[in-house]
Point group: C2
Chain length 340, copies 2
């Protein structure tokens, strides 16, 4: 079943069928209807390989997730991101290809991704700083969008949340509730996210006239265990609140607090980051910064498609707004009066 067959069946030429399929305006309504009828009847679907070969594009997006973070994959973060991307792809008639960048295969994969013509553009998720992939991508002059701001390259299209502003707001919220010894469990500090969120925390302290104490900052790695360990290090310094850079770490931190016989939010107030599905189910429910993960996925995909179909478009960065979701863990209800 191919264009030729459809052409014969509908009494026109292959070219005309192609025009119908590609919605060219240069077809009479009569012919169009006739051809579409036959296509419907025969359940015809143009061959993608042939199409790609002739046209030079595949309408396939590549999503690359570095192995370094594929452990993070235990978070529902990526599933949500993927759902968002998929939605955008569906809407624009694109498909998505997923690569989990295993170190061992990285070189081969990179070549395949970049030079085999399989994909029209690349979505890089949560790349570590200075990933070689990025350099390779610009060298190959392929359209791409990274998820997460890269402070080292300003001319790269990215989609991210405003980590700085979000963290500032989260910390300010704790300060407004009259907490004075506000601690911070950071993300990995070799990533832009980790740094940005810490800077937001620092700025909030300054804005609130609180002094910054290195003892009240502990580095985490976005994992449950990392959060637990970091909290253990913070406890001896008697924080009365803690802003944790991810919900998963907050779960670990919460456990550390409870194991030490302290109560949340009475002894230590807590704010997380992400608003993962489990955040609302924690005990107490976690106040946290909601990231529009799904939306981030679809915006990233849309940006990439734009870049593909419009090669002259300047790559630009997009920061999506977050939302502070106030639940019980920050002690809002306890001190609401005092804060007003």
């Amino acid at each position: 079943m191919n264009l030729e067959t459809i052409a014969r069946l509908s009494g026109v030429s292959r070219s005309t069928v192609s025009r119908v399929i590609n919605n060219s305006p240069r077809v009479s309504e009569d012919t169009r209807r006739k051809v579409l009828d036959i296509i419907q009847q025969t359940n015809f679907q143009p061959n993608i390989a042939a199409r790609s070969l002739a046209s030079g594009c595949t309408r396939i997006l590549g999503l690359v997730i570095p192995t370094a973070v594929s452990n993070l994959f235990v978070d529902p973060y990526f599933p949500l991101l993927i759902q968002g991307i998929t939605a955008a792809c569906n809407a624009r008639d694109y498909s998505m290809m997923l690569w989990l960048a295993d170190a061992e295969y990285e070189r081969r994969m990179m070549r395949q991704i970049l030079y085999s013509g399989l994909i029209d553009g690349v979505l890089l998720a949560s790349m570590p700083e200075n990933d070689p992939m990025l350099e390779a991508l610009r060298e190959a002059r392929r359209p791409f969008v990274v998820q997460g701001r890269d402070p080292h390259h300003s001319d790269v299209a990215y989609v991210d949340v405003d980590n700085l502003e979000s963290s500032r707001q989260a910390t300010l919220h704790l300060a407004r509730l009259r907490h004075r010894r506000i601690a911070h469990i950071t993300g990995p500090l070799n990533t832009a996210v980790g740094k940005d969120r810490r800077r937001g925390y620092e700025q909030a302290l300054q804005l609130s006239g609180l002094s910054y104490s290195p003892a009240l900052v502990a580095e985490g790695d976005f994992s449950y265990e990392g959060g637990y360990q970091a909290m253990l290090r913070l406890l001896p310094h008697n924080p009365d609140a803690v802003f944790v850079a991810s919900d998963t770490m907050a779960r670990g931190a919460m456990r550390a607090v409870i194991e030490n016989g302290l109560t949340i939010p009475e002894d230590i107030a807590m704010v997380g980051f992400d608003d993962m599905p489990f955040a609302a189910q924690m005990e107490p429910p976690l106040t946290t910064v909601r990231q529009p993960v799904l939306r981030m996925g679809s915006v990233a995909a849309e940006t990439l498609i734009e870049l593909i179909e419009n090669p002259n478009a300047k790559p630009l960065g997009i920061r999506l707004p977050t939302e502070l979701v106030i639940r019980a863990s920050c002690g809002f209800s306890l001190r609401a009066g005092a804060a007003a």
Copy 2:
């Protein structure tokens, strides 16, 4: 950059270069080396579209996850599955394409998947019973493998765990620990998984000489909330143990137990299913049936690839073994003496 160029540079014909690339034995060692050198130098990668067009296969596997379960996506189940599939694909030089089957796009997608020649075979993950996709797949005579047994089609290749046996073992474990009023929170009973696990539970009761009571069985839907609600329904009937058909539901159930002032495992022992990463971090740590999810993914992919490259191969079902991971929630340590 194409075959012709490589051929010219290495002083052979296009055909020979093609042979080198495809590891044909019909090339002298000398020529092979010469050509490989040039390929290395020029960073050449054959065009996939052209290759597919000429050969009729793409070396791309399609992974289809129905929307119905994409909420389940909040479990790290699918990420793990995907990781397994990816690993197998990497090893066999295949790539993977992901489709989240959104109802609205289902028809169009199905056609694209089946007839556009984009993919060589389909992996169906966690399909609901009687999914139309399955029928379409066999009609189109495409190789495919489903993840999860389908009781309605015996000639379909599938990869699954032995849900029946696993559930029987899990329940038997509770019975051996001298629990007598063992309840069960089921999965959705319109799925094979849900039914199989319940049957395992029933068989274990019978084997242990315990009587089956409908009041001690509550249907869940694999969600946290579903587990919570199911447990609330069970509590009035005073179970002394409960076998929960998924870890996520077990989390919900555990919350219900604790909110009612009861203790696990002292008042109610609990066994889950999945061994999700969080199971070990629960309080108390959850005894549960470990599914080899990652392995399931890679086995599924390998089976599919086998089917693709070997069209005469009979599709066959594979059941992977599970493992009962004993932690504190079943009260093993409490009653170990009694059980010996």
